[in-house]
Amino acid sequence: MKNIKEHNSGGVCLGIESSADDFGIGISTFKGEILANQSDSYIPSKGGIHPREAARHHSEVADKVLIQALTKAQIKPQDLTAIAFSQGPGLGPCLRTGATIARALASYLEVPLIGVNHSIAHIEIGKLKTGAKDPVTLYASGGNTMVTAYESRRYRVFGETLDIALGNCLDVFAREAGLRSRKGLPLGAAVEQFALKGKKLISLPYVVKGMDLSLSGLLTAATSALHDGCRLEDVCYSLQENAFSMVTEVTERALAHTEKKEVLLTGGVAANKRLQSMLTLISEEHDARFAVVPLEFATDNGAMIAWAGVLAFRYGLVTPLEESFVKLRWRVDKVDVPWIQ
């Protein structure tokens, strides 16, 4: 059992994540010790995420998840020093649900409120959990695919998708193919299982434009290949090989350009073993260390919001109530990160 007084001396931050289908609450000490990381996911009965339905789910499970988190961390609400929440980017109704809960908690407990950029939280939890200091980060999830690195006050975007996100590409394909998701994993993860049994590389679009990439044409072509009677395993394999080669090429370009010595993989797609192996190879090639965020912190989670909240709070960055509106398209390169250097 942890000593509560010790946490209090340094402070404890509670973080709320609700940008998409996961509702999560995490608790982090100011030293970066994660005391709790609880979540509950909205699972659509069919199709993709319906923002309003997901938001409804979040409001229904919020109190349960909050109690679970406080119980797990063995602290009382009064022990909290600050409340952080995912302010964007993400789905409007979902973000608003989390923001409302955060505002209520902060007002009731009379503690500061901290609006956190969701993408920065993914990068920071990856650094905390892997010990990476100054990496080139590939953040690939259902809603994001970007290659970022720190450069003068901010995380700069060196490459990103011009259309859909990598996780989205895999998810939609899996749905088109009628695949079922396994408990606790995104639908796209099913593609990885079938890809393992793929033998034949089907010719699909490979679209790298400078440091950016495009995945929508690849998704359409893979879906057509499936409808044309190609083996599901071969299409899954070819889709993964093409999509992952593209993001790996872009990551390698950023690595060569910035000459950094670490590569960090974060976001929901980080769990994919094939993507991990490709990034390991380019890291070796450039004498860089490859690090991947542990699964629990790869998908959307509250702990990363809590930790990013700590980093901001320690530099006096708090969000006044009147500025706590959610930012649906809040880019990572619009946020100063004074805690670095």
Partner: protein, 219 residues
């Protein structure tokens, strides 16, 4: 026999390694697209061959369009290598941050004009960054690295080409990227004409709105 020993590695890029060498008394750069272990061999070979064959063709056409590019001496498809002229000068990437504001504006104007010349001939560079531009001692801006280029007359391709340059300026020259990009567009408009430049600009805005997280995008 021992030419490989004589080669000096200039730059190990992501896609290719650049070696400095002497080729029949000429100072040359040998660009070798090394196999990428992360890609399946069939896909890797297809990509490397395609780029090795297309790059010299595009460089040649760029010259015809009036955009300085290195001379091509030799192409080996089996080794995915290109032997080309070594261009003396400085990378624009390093220059842009160190020159005076007026010089920076002039340079960006010239870059924009060159892009305009390429686009007028249906040439898309595909990877417009300031690392891929060299200012020679006689004041010409050489364009290099056409590996991701293509021949395309569509407005979309031109828009993406300039959008990529804007993104490169934002990530590498963040202090004054907007001035630079404006000068690029000015230089571009001087070549292609205001009307066509305006159409391309509208396209850039549209392309950016397609992105995932763009403030300007409508809900």
């Amino acid at each position: 026999m021992d030419t490989i020993v004589e080669r000096t590695l200039l730059k190990k890029g992501a896609e290719a390694s650049l070696f400095l060498d002497d080729w029949h008394g000429k100072k040359v750069v040998i660009k070798v697209r090394v196999p990428k272990r992360y890609r399946p061999p069939a896909l890797d070979e297809q990509i490397r061959t395609y780029r090795t064959v297309h790059e010299p063709q595009l460089m040649h056409e760029a010259k015809a369009a009036g955009v300085p590019t290195p001379l091509i001496y030799m192409v080996s498809v089996s080794e995915s290598s290109i032997i080309m002229e070594y261009v003396e000068g400085q990378q624009v990437k390093g220059l842009l941050n160190s020159v005076t504001e007026q010089k920076r504006i002039d340079l960006c104007n010239e870059i924009g004009a060159s892009i305009g010349r390429l686009h007028c001939r249906g040439l898309i560079h595909g990877d417009l960054t300031t690392s891929n531009m060299i200012l020679s001692p006689n004041g010409k801006v050489f364009f290099v690295d056409f590996g991701l280029g293509e021949k395309n007359i569509e407005l979309e391709a031109k828009g993406v080409d300039l959008h990529l340059l804007k993104r490169a300026l934002q990530s590498t020259h963040y202090e004054f990227w907007d001035h630079c990009f404006r000068s690029v567009l000015n230089g571009y408009a001087k070549i292609v004409g205001l009307e066509r430049a305006a159409k391309v600009y509208e396209k850039i805005v549209e392309i950016e709105r397609r992105g995932r997280y763009v403030e300007e995008r409508k809900q």
